[in-house]
């Protein structure tokens, strides 16, 4: 997996609630950059027919990272979340082909959506919450589109039913991104 030319730094999931806006934006930025790196790897596994879809998703994540960096100000790192990259790398290496790559992308999108949905429930800054919401809606849409692309039916489109999960365990959790 191609991560970053620069040394990676972990960004801790803040343990105290509510979370301040710059801290939440910085964490979101680092996660988005980790997803960009993951998509770099996934694009090597897919054919021309679906490549544009994954390229669009990757471009969106890059855009999201830039937006969050702006909101994070001095707290922005400019780096992908190191622990997340480390966690994803062996999984990406083990993927066998296009179907597995698309399923993995779907999993990434579901998890990042849950991560942002949770962040909205703890961030004390309305502006950052709205930016997370604006991004969350698009990433939830990515996940749904990938489910369609994978040929899933209506019974599989919404594993969590009528509500986006806000449980941090459904997202990229503190276990994946340990403090420190």
């Amino acid at each position: 997996m191609t991560a970053s030319a620069r040394p990676l730094r972990a960004v801790a999931w803040p343990s105290v609630q509510p979370v301040d806006g710059p801290g939440a934006a910085a964490r979101a930025e680092s996660i988005e950059l980790a997803l960009v790196a993951a998509y770099d790897a996934l694009l090597d596994l897919v054919g021309d027919e679906v490549r544009p879809i994954l390229e669009t998703n990757r471009a969106h994540h890059r855009d999201h990272a830039r937006g969050f960096a702006d909101l994070a100000g001095d707290a922005a790192t400019g780096d992908p979340d190191a622990a997340l990259v480390e966690s994803l790398a062996p999984q990406l290496d083990a993927l066998g082909g296009q179907g597995a790559a698309l399923a993995f992308a779907r999993e990434l999108e579901d998890r990042v959506a849950a991560t942002h949905a949770h962040a909205i429930t703890v961030v004390d800054d309305r502006g950052v919450a709205q930016d997370l919401a604006s991004v969350l809606a698009v990433e939830a849409a990515h996940a749904a589109s990938l489910r369609r692309l994978l040929g899933e039916g209506a019974t599989e489109w919404f594993p969590d039913g009528a509500f986006e999960p806000t449980d941090p365990a459904r997202g990229f959790t503190p276990q994946v991104v340990p403090p420190g």
């Binding site: 429930t121 309305r126 709205q130 698009v138 589109s145 009528a162």
Partner: protein, 260 residues
């Protein structure tokens, strides 16, 4: 909550009873095959097509509504320069309990509208695809869950839940779209636009609502509605634009906002 549950049931029954009569009246009034969209707009007393719904500054009247009215004069509002930079039909709201009540009750009325719209879409008998039929059924069930949760939130905020389909959006958008629908694709487009507008409403609300709990609830719903829109885009091969972010402005006409 027992009283609220009863009111939810009563509201649903009342809507079921009233719609066929409304459709009959309207069909008696106009022969939709001969009446142009402008005349239809006039008969219905609707706002200008361009004023109907704005998503990200673009009129979505150009999609479902124009298709619904039939006789599209070739002016696609999505590319119409006169609508491209239209300001959002909204004033900035000052955050606070009163605004919370306005946004929550408005969102509730949009959920009631969506439940009602999917039921009416099913009754038209235009849906041929099993996938689309399944999607409509799942989405309608989700909106019913959203409605029930929001009704509780609104009641907890100390106001009467508004359990009627949002009047402004129904009259300006849903009714004419349903009246003019002739093929399955018209309904998919209508559903997509409604879902996208609803999702954007929650994105907007997240920047205004007072508490983290309310903001979390709003986007737990809004994200699922964004998923609905994406699935409809795929099922209907709508090939809509896919920007990196949902717009944050309120997408609906000012009149669609309810009193707190």
């Amino acid at each position: 909550m027992n009283g609220l549950s009863r009111r939810l049931r009563d509201a649903e029954r009342a809507q079921r009873g009233s719609v066929p009569a409304w459709q009959d009246r309207l069909h008696r009034m106009v022969d939709r095959r001969r009446v142009g969209s402008d005349e239809l707009t006039c008969v219905l007393g609707l706002p200008s097509r361009r004023d109907v719904l704005r998503i990200g500054g673009l009129g979505i009247a150009g999609s479902a509504l124009l298709a619904a009215c039939g006789g599209d004069d070739g002016g696609d509002a999505r590319t119409d320069p006169s609508t491209k930079n239209a300001p959002a039909a909204t004033d900035e709201l000052d955050p606070g309990p009163e605004t919370d009540r306005v946004l929550l009750n408005t969102a509730l009325s949009l959920e009631v509208l969506a439940v009602d719209a999917y039921r009416r879409m099913g009754e038209l008998g235009l849906v041929e695809s099993a996938s689309i039929r399944d999607a409509f059924a799942v989405f309608a069930a989700h909106h019913a869950e959203h409605r029930d949760v929001l009704a509780g939130v609104v009641q907890a905020a100390g106001v009467e839940p508004f359990l009627v389909p949002n009047p402004a959006v129904r009259v300006a958008f849903v009714d004419p779209a349903l009246l003019g629908a002739t093929v399955q694709g018209d309904l998919v487009r209508l559903a997509h636009d409604l879902e996208r507008a609803a999702a954007q409403t929650y994105v907007h609300a997240t920047g205004v609502l007072s508490t983290v709990e309310q903001r979390g609830q709003a986007m737990a719903i809004g994200a699922v509605e964004a998923r609905h829109a994406a699935i409809l885009d795929s099922l209907g091969e709508l090939a809509t634009e896919k920007p990196a972010r949902y717009p944050t402005e309120y997408p609906l006409p000012q009149e669609s906002r309810l009193e707190g």
